[in-house]
C-alpha cells in the first residue's frame, strides 16, 4: 500500500510532537507560520519608519551621536516645505519623471506593437532591444558621460552630422538647459525596453478571435486599435507607468554618475538631494523629515494610481 507525501510526513512525525500539533487550532497554526514574517516586517520596515518619524522631530545628527538631542517639533518639516531649493529639486524630479514616462510609454508601446507583428528575426530584434536594461545603471551613467563628451563623444558627433552644429559648441551635461534632457534621454534609452516587454505581454494576451470578430464586423484597423488594442493593453501600460514612476522617483545611481546633480543643481533629483542632506551634511533629523515627506508623497500618489488601475482592470 502506498502513502501520499502528507501521510508519509504524518507517520514520520514523532508521537509527542504530533500530539502537541493536534492540540493546536488552525488559527494558532496560522499564527505560528505568519509570526516570523510579521516579526521580520516589523524589524526592517515598520520599526525604521517609526524611528525615522521620531528622528524627524529632533535635531539629531548621526555624526554627532553623543550630542544632546533636542526636540524641535515640526520645525524640520516647515523648513523643508519653505525651502526654495527643495522645491527646485522637486521640479527637477517632476520634469525627469514626466518626460521619461511619456517617452518610454510612447516608444515602448510602438516597439511592442512592431515586435508583435510576425516577421523574420523577430526574436533577435527583441533581444537586441532589451540589452540596455540588462546593464548596470553605474555602467550606463559612466559610458554616457563619454558619449556626451563635447570633444570626443559620439552623441555630439551624431547631432553635428544631422544638424551641422559644431560638436564642441554644446555640452549636454554641462549646459543648464540641456542637462535635464540628457538624463531623460539616457533613462529612456535604458528603460524603454522594460515598458516594451510589458506592453508586448499585454498585446499577446489579446485573443485573435476578438480581432477576427471585429474584422467580420468590418471594423477598420484604426478602429480595432482604439477599441480593442488600447483598452486591453491599458492595464498593462498603467502597470508599466506605476513601476517606472516609482523607480524614477527614487532615481539616484545613473544620474549621480552622469551629472552629479549638476550643472549647479539643475539635475539634483530629490533622492540625490536627500542623500546629500543625510550622508554628506549629516543633518539626520532634517533628512528624516525630508524622507517622510517623500514617502507620503509617493505612497499617496501610488495609492490613488492603484485605485485607478483597479478600476481600469474591472472594466
Amino acid at each position: 500500500m502506498t502513502h501520499s507525501p502528507i501521510e508519509r510526513v504524518a507517520f514520520a512525525t514523532p508521537p509527542a510532537i504530533a500530539s502537541r500539533a493536534r492540540g493546536l487550532s488552525d488559527r494558532a497554526l496560522a499564527w505560528i507560520f505568519v509570526t516570523p514574517t510579521i516579526a521580520l516586517l516589523l524589524a526592517i520596515n515598520i520599526f525604521p519608519l517609526v524611528w525615522t518619524i521620531r528622528l524627524s522631530l529632533t535635531n539629531y545628527r548621526a555624526n554627532r551621536a553623543g550630542a544632546e538631542l533636542e526636540w524641535v517639533g515640526i520645525r524640520n518639516y516647515t523648513r523643508i516645505l519653505t525651502d526654495g531649493d527643495i522645491w527646485l529639486s522637486m521640479q527637477a524630479t517632476a520634469h525627469f519623471l514626466i518626460w521619461t514616462i511619456v517617452l518610454q510609454v510612447a516608444i515602448g508601446f510602438a516597439l511592442a506593437w512592431l515586435i508583435n507583428r510576425k516577421f523574420k528575426g523577430n526574436d533577435l530584434w527583441t533581444t537586441i532591444i532589451v540589452l540596455p536594461m540588462m546593464l548596470s545603471p553605474a555602467v550606463v551613467g559612466n559610458f554616457w558621460t563619454f558619449l556626451y563628451q563635447p570633444q570626443i563623444g559620439l552623441f555630439n558627433y551624431v547631432v553635428s552630422f544631422f544638424t551641422g552644429i559644431d560638436p564642441s559648441s554644446f555640452s549636454m551635461i554641462g549646459d543648464v538647459s540641456l542637462a535635464p534632457w540628457s538624463i531623460v534621454i539616457v533613462d529612456t534609452w535604458m528603460w524603454t525596453p522594460f515598458v516594451m516587454l510589458i506592453c508586448l505581454a499585454g498585446l499577446r494576451s489579446i485573443p485573435d478571435y476578438i480581432y477576427e470578430a471585429a474584422a467580420i464586423d468590418r471594423a477598420s484597423p484604426w478602429r480595432q486599435f482604439w477599441t480593442i488594442t488600447v483598452p486591453m493593453v491599458l492595464p498593462f501600460l498603467m502597470l508599466a507607468v506605476l513601476f517606472r514612476g516609482i523607480e524614477n522617483f527614487k532615481m539616484f545611481d545613473m544620474v549621480t554618475l552622469l551629472t552629479g546633480g549638476g550643472p549647479g543643481s539643475t539635475t539634483e533629483l530629490t533622492s540625490i538631494n536627500l542623500k546629500r542632506e543625510a550622508f554628506e551634511k549629516w543633518r539626520t533629523g532634517y533628512s528624516s523629515a525630508y524622507a517622510i515627506i517623500l514617502f507620503v508623497t509617493v505612497f499617496g500618489l501610488a495609492s490613488i494610481y492603484v485605485k485607478a488601475l483597479n478600476k481600469v482592470k474591472q472594466r
Binding site: 535635531n59 563635447p150 563623444g153 564642441s168 555640452s171 552629479g260
Partner: protein, 441 residues
C-alpha cells in the same frame, strides 16, 4: 622566603608575558585616499615592516568617495583602520567626537616636536582647536593648490611674438590673476602643433569638494575671509565683501572664457588628463600631481613649469591648503603598534626618503635643507606655495559648510544662476544657519 621567591618568579613571568604580548607583531591597517602618494607610502612602509615586524595593510578609497567612506567608518566606531591619513578639514570633528587619539603625551614622550614641521601644516593638519597646542595628528603629506604650465609652449618664439603683439608684454609666468586670465584667453582655441588647445583647467567638480577648493584658491587673494578676525563666526562683509564678490566673478569669468568644452564637473584627475594630453596651457591642481608630470613621456623632461598662486588685485597672495596628517584611530585595538608607526614615520631619514619617493614631507629638516629647492623642478614652487596657505573651515560641521559652498559656487560659476553677490550672500545665510544649529551663534 620561599613564598616571596615564588611571588617574584610569578611577577617576572607575568611581566615577561605582558611585554611579549605588547611586542607582538600586529597587522596594522592604514586608511587613505587612493592616489599616487598612497602607492609611494606602500613602498616606504616596507621599511617599517622590516624594522618592526608588524605587517601593514592598506585601505585606499578614491577621492570622490574618500570622505563619505572614511567619515562613516570613524563615526560608526569601526575598527577597519588603525591609522588614518584624514583630510585636514576632518580634524575638528575627529577631535570633538573622539575619533582620533590625542597625541600630545606621545609626542612629548618620544621627542617629537611640532616646531620641527612646517607651521602651516601643524595648524592645518594637527591642531584642534586651531592655534592651540592640542595635537591629533602628525603632519604627513603637505599639499597645496598651485599651477602648472606648458613651459615648452611658452618658450616658442612664434607664440611669444603673438602674445607680445596682443598684450604688449612678454609671455611669462603670471604674477597676478589678471595676467593669468590673459594667458588663458590667449591660448584658448589656439592651434598648437596642429591641435586646438585651451586656456586652463580649473576645478569645477560638484559632488565632493572640487569647485570649493578651486574657487577658494582664487577668492583668498581677492580679499575673502571666513570670519571677522576679532569676532569668530561673524561672516557678514567678510565672506560676501566686495573683494570676495570680485574673486568669485573672476573665477566664473575664467570658467566662461578659458576652459575646454565639457569641463563642467572636473577635479584633480580630469585636470591631470587635460594637462598630460596637451589640451590646456595652464592647469590648477594640487602639488601631489607634480611628480607625475615630471615622469610623463609627453609633458615631462622640462616641458612643464610650476608656479605658486599669483596675487590678487591688491597684491594679496594666498593659496588653498591641501594635504593631511596621520592619526591613530581611537577605536583601534592596536594603538601601540599604530603609535610605533607614527614614531617611525616622524624620523628625518624616513621623511627624506618620503620626499624622494614623491611624498611631500612637512618636516623642516627636509624642506629647509639647502639642496631642497634644487631637488625637484617643483620643489621651490612647493615651498613658495606652502608659505601662503589658507584652509577651509575645519569645524565639526565642515561637511555641511562644504556642501553649502559646493552648491552656491556651482550654481553661480557653472550653471550661471544669479550673481556672485547673491551666491555669497546665500552662503553667509547657509553658514549662519549651520553655526546656529551648532550653538556657536
Amino acid at each position: 622566603m620561599k613564598r616571596a621567591h615564588l611571588a617574584a618568579v610569578a611577577a617576572i613571568s607575568i611581566t615577561a608575558a605582558l611585554s611579549a604580548n605588547s611586542a607582538q607583531a600586529e597587522d596594522l591597517t592604514l586608511c587613505w585616499a587612493s592616489w599616487d602618494p598612497a602607492n609611494a607610502l606602500v613602498e616606504l612602509s616596507k621599511d617599517f615592516e622590516a624594522q618592526s615586524g608588524h605587517k601593514m595593510s592598506f585601505e585606499f578609497v578614491p577621492w570622490p568617495n574618500f570622505a563619505d567612506r572614511m567619515l562613516n567608518e570613524l563615526n560608526s566606531g569601526g575598527q577597519l583602520c588603525d591609522l588614518m591619513i584624514g583630510d585636514s578639514q576632518w580634524i575638528g570633528g575627529a577631535a570633538e567626537n573622539g575619533w582620533y587619539v590625542k597625541l600630545n603625551d606621545f609626542f612629548d614622550a618620544n621627542g617629537i616636536k611640532m616646531d620641527d614641521f612646517i607651521d602651516a601644516t601643524v595648524t592645518g593638519y594637527a591642531e584642534w582647536p586651531k592655534n592651540t597646542p592640542n595635537y591629533w595628528a602628525l603632519p604627513a603629506f603637505g599639499d597645496v593648490v598651485g599651477w602648472t604650465y606648458r613651459k615648452d609652449w611658452f618658450e616658442r618664439p612664434e607664440i611669444q611674438t603673438a602674445f607680445k603683439e596682443k598684450y604688449g608684454r612678454d609671455l611669462a609666468v603670471p604674477k597676478t590673476f589678471a595676467e593669468l586670465k590673459d594667458i588663458a584667453e590667449f591660448f584658448q582655441k589656439r592651434e598648437v602643433d596642429g591641435k586646438t588647445v585651451y586656456g586652463a583647467s580649473i576645478y569645477t567638480e560638484r559632488g565632493s569638494e572640487g569647485i570649493t577648493m578651486g574657487a577658494m584658491d582664487v577668492l583668498y587673494s581677492f580679499g575673502f575671509k571666513y570670519e571677522n578676525p576679532d569676532k569668530p563666526y561673524d561672516m557678514e562683509g567678510y565672506v560676501n565683501g566686495p573683494g570676495a564678490v570680485a574673486g568669485l566673478e573672476y573665477y566664473k569669468a575664467l570658467y566662461d572664457c578659458c576652459v575646454a568644452p565639457g569641463t563642467s564637473n572636473t577635479y584633480m584627475s580630469e585636470g591631470i588628463d587635460a594637462f598630460k594630453s596637451g589640451q590646456v596651457a595652464l592647469q590648477m591642481n594640487f602639488a601631489f600631481t607634480w611628480p607625475g608630470f615630471e615622469t610623463d613621456m609627453d609633458v615631462g623632461r622640462g616641458k612643464t613649469g610650476y608656479f605658486a598662486n599669483p596675487a590678487g588685485p591688491d597684491g594679496d597672495q594666498f593659496a588653498q591648503l591641501g594635504g593631511q596628517g596621520i592619526s591613530v584611530v581611537a577605536a583601534s585595538t592596536k594603538q601601540d603598534a599604530a603609535l610605533e608607526y607614527i614614531k617611525w614615520f616622524a624620523q628625518p631619514d624616513v621623511q627624506a626618503k618620503w620626499w624622494s619617493m614623491g611624498g611631500f614631507s612637512c618636516l623642516k629638516a627636509v624642506t629647509l635643507a639647502p639642496d631642497f629647492p634644487q631637488s625637484q623642478p617643483y620643489a621651490q614652487t612647493f615651498l613658495d606655495s606652502m608659505a601662503i596657505v589658507k584652509d577651509f573651515w575645519a569645524e565639526p560641521s565642515y561637511a555641511t559648510l562644504l556642501q553649502d559652498t559646493q552648491k552656491r559656487f556651482h550654481d553661480y560659476v557653472v550653471a550661471g544662476q544669479g550673481t556672485a553677490q547673491e551666491a555669497l550672500d546665500g552662503l553667509v545665510a547657509d553658514w549662519t544657519e549651520t553655526f546656529e544649529d551648532e550653538g556657536k551663534l
